[in-house]
Symmetry: D2
Subunit: 344 residues, 4 copies
């Protein structure tokens, strides 16, 4: 038999192959046209070896080794949050295009240092707010952008995880507003195209007292006021037992646009007792798979075209500020203006 080879794709090195990093590695090696996995690396060498074996790709001994490799065009930073900012700086200096999982950092000063390094290097940079690439959520943004629903008056986001994360994770994650609601803060900015100026957050511990011990809440309602006058209402829970509940809705002067939950499948059974249908997709990978693939396609297309990826450095920073304001609001039981956090 004759062996032939494919044209060279964008070669991506993956730093951190825990749950999310491994998913990115698998998508990039199997489902993203124009991309390949150049290497994987993880602080836990065993994890890196396992993923390397499964995907048949090289394993780098350290992030530095991976960043130094000539056959790595871009890096996906999927390691723990506290390492993100430093790795961004190093990757920018190494001349790599950079994809970084959210959040860049829990510390605004660190974020600013990292983004400054990106700016100085002129690096392509994209933050992992994958939900912007969900076809349903995107259709809401597009309806707004095309003027189909007029001027936006209200946004409503329900965002509920199927199961809580380990409490150990919560202790370092920045808590619900920085590890979970941050996606919704991003979505509110994305859908409206308007910055957030004021935050009111209310939270409760209803699922597990461990959240209280960790200084966190597991249930929350947040009200945002945008620069253009729009109001956004977000509700969150760490545990929706019926599946991953993710809905976004924009309401305006000419109508509304909404992104509903897809069912796990479209079967329905009707009996004398009523109708029954499937649960929602349970896991983030099931629910958001198309968004992850499309997120990578956008990154790869931008890198190949030498253009700025669609989710920018500003998009990486703003939701963090909103999250910090939400924590302050919750603790001080009052509305907090975003510029209070900026000024701090």
């Amino acid at each position: 038999m004759e062996t032939v080879t494919a044209a060279p794709p964008v070669r991506i090195g993956i730093i951190g192959v825990g749950r999310i990093g491994r998913m990115h590695a698998e998508l990039l090696s199997r489902q993203v046209a124009g991309a390949s996995v150049a290497a994987v690396q993880d602080a836990r060498a065993d994890s890196a070896r396992e993923v390397g074996r499964a995907l048949d790709v090289p394993v780098a001994a350290s992030a530095a080794e991976l960043l130094a490799a000539g056959d790595v065009d871009a890096v996906a930073i999927c390691s723990s949050t506290d390492t993100h900012a430093g790795l961004i700086v190093e990757a920018a200096r190494a001349g790599k295009a950079i994809f970084c999982e959210k959040p860049v950092s829990l510390d605004l000063g660190e974020v600013d240092l990292a983004l400054a390094a990106v700016r100085e290097a002129g690096a392509s940079f994209q933050v992992g707010f994958n939900r912007r690439f969900d076809p349903g959520h995107q259709s809401v943004r597009e309806a707004v952008a095309r003027g189909e629903i007029g001027e936006v008056h209200l946004v409503r986001i329900s965002s509920r995880d199927p199961a809580p994360p380990p409490l150990a994770y919560v202790k370092t994650s920045g808590g619900i507003f920085l590890d979970m609601t941050i996606h919704d803060f991003d979505m509110a900015r994305y859908v409206t195209g308007s910055e957030v100026v004021d935050v009111h957050a209310r939270g409760a511990v209803r699922i597990d007292p461990g959240f209280a011990e960790a200084g966190d809440v597991d249930t929350a309602v947040v009200t945002l006021e945008h620069a253009n006058g729009c109001l956004t209402a977000i509700d969150n829970s760490r545990q929706a037992v019926y599946g991953y509940d993710q809905r976004v809705e924009a309401f305006g002067s000419l109508g509304m646009a909404t992104s509903e939950n897809p069912p796990a499948h479209t079967g329905v059974v009707r009996t004398a007792s009523g109708a029954s249908a499937s649960v929602l997709p349970y896991f983030f990978l099931e629910r958001y798979l198309p968004s992850y693939v499309r997120e990578w396609e956008a990154f790869v297309a931008a890198v190949e075209a030498g253009e700025t990826p669609p989710t920018t450095a500003a998009d990486a920073r703003a939701p963090l500020v909103i999250g910090l304001a939400a924590w302050r609001s919750l603790r001080e039981r009052r509305s907090v203006r975003v510029d209070e956090v900026e000024a701090a």
Copy 2:
């Protein structure tokens, strides 16, 4: 031909036959089994005559005449809000069963006087929170009451009118939180079975600057905290151009229950451009007709059985207090505890 007569129903006199009063008169005369319209009355004699003619029922010259009539078992108080409390007192003293449109009054002292008169007379009293009788919303309450969704953590209510009321109405109605959101405050109490203890309201004028001139807002987001720890998020608009948008959702430890909008009809057209379906029912009568009929059936059944109607005096009062707290929250840009209003 031979003429036969029907068995005597509960005979109801209607005080005030503006839009809502006329609707009640028509329902009672045509669609509510066991009820009849004994007489109608309105401060505008022309209105009363027109409705009397259309329904072939007697017209009373005054509320006093109607309340004095021996063939009137119960009254429906549908006149302007400022007359409600006084009429409740008079009707209670006249020994009538009382149905009163919401709100009883914008003044808490007046409410308390009226409800005291009801209590003293031992009168049957029901306030017009018809949405409790909507089959969809009721199914949400029942899912909670049966424990199907476990302990309730979050309630989410979207309540958007198809078109704004006249500004003249707004100036005397108590504004959005007392003429519109008051239904949602009632719904939050109804669905959770738990009192509200804390209110945060944020509002905006996005539809018509006239609302600002009237001291009102036309767009609002309200967060409620309940005694049982549940959080409720409400969003309101005075103008949903796509129809009357009314959704209620309860989320809990074992699942969620939701009441979606019905379409005006079930037809769907699919072409190469996508799928299109009907608007929502536009008018409150289309959307809530079954709730109004069922509301009256519950009242009539309670009157006939000599029992307390299902929506009580406490249910008439509590949403008003929440609404007053919402106004204070909006004006003072802070969360307001309900007992602050009580203490005032």
Copy 3:
């Protein structure tokens, strides 16, 4: 108090107040603007007296008395099928506008005599194919008529009753194709605007062996070919335990239009086991109430305007011919052309 009277409506006498006649009487007396019930009559005097008492309307001793009354503008013929044709002839001669429940007769010769009498008298005549007035089904017809789905290629109708009729009824009703599928034959003509030229029917007894004893089937699939080349597929069951299942769909060169089942209410509960929703409306009155009201509104409007009602004599006759062809097809296990029945 002062008594005033309403303007004169179209006064309708109802012949036959069994289940369907009583429903018409109640709708006409309560929900159809511009109509009133002038009198009711039934072969069973007790039934007539009960309905007369409930609605407070006179009871006629015989159909002849009712037809002779000067204060009766129109008649609703709701008695047993075998009396329809004769009553149509008498009503036409008495100068009344005529509404007749389907079918006019099971005998084509009788139908032709009755329709000839209508024609000679120049009477307003409407047959009770109420489903044409269902807003969902009507939206399918309108999508076709407006050309939104292009040329119609396929029609698909599922029509399943919630519970079988008494076997005694089946024995005189003409069987499934003349008492039940006849609505679907009408719908196929209505939606496509094209006559049926060829029929293939297949049936089975799956619910109750009594249907076989009565010479009937309880489950059927019928294929129709229309003059314009469109094919229609109908499926029927006498017993859909999950409610009254009524769906109509037209498919064409530019798209499709469909009328789905409405739920009994819009509540949905989601748990870890999946989603559950309400049954379908169970009874024909719940499902088709708006269609009955709108059917009467169309009749009343036509009578008042002196115009031909929208569902004509031809519409009364054609589905019967198709039904007779369906029975022949089932029995002879072959396709039957409609003109074979006409020629017989």
Copy 4:
């Protein structure tokens, strides 16, 4: 960097990499756990080289070379229909597990020879009726198998392609009943678990007169009668401009189970003109991607376990017989019993 290798999967050689074969090759190399593509081959060497290059897999010069290779555990036969039977025989003799796209052949004698070879070799054999693995359709089968809907009385299948195939394809494909409806014949057997005994087919040319010239139809309605008395109604079109319309429904004594179309995404826009939503997924790969992946997972699991794959030789044969009966029914304008075709 260190290179590690994965555990050996089931190595599959793909014969024929036209549209469907290439899709299988891509799925097997990227998304099916436990499988790899060992080699590809195509009568058109260019096609094989292109796919080999894209997937980085060897290209075999001939089917014989591929079947002789020691590192090929199983073959996927995706070449033109006329080559299927011969390749099955060769693959069975070469000791390979066999996956064959439908249909095995248009000639019943050839099918029987091929299946005999499979039987003699004791080969694992699966035919490509992927729709059995669609989660929605499968949920219908499971509801029937678990008895949730009781005894099955009716099955209703709408199966409409988004766009017609090239007429050149139609001329050799066996026409609509053998290249398209054959999936629905399989689905009817799968859902009911009962063989088909009688077929009535009606067809029309509504889309393109070229179908008539090719001896085919582009629009069809087929009625099946099953051994257990159930009736199945199928409607087909070669061109649903609104997307790939694929619905399966089983109706029984205790309820119904249905598999609805998924939308391309879940976004909905509501304006004063009504609601609009996305088209259906347009292409078979979008619509049925999960079914293809799951089909392969079932095959791989069966091969690894040494068990009979779930879609058997009998499943490969029966739909062809039904399709031949459908053609006879259409041509002779009568119902045709399946055993007439068997006897021929």
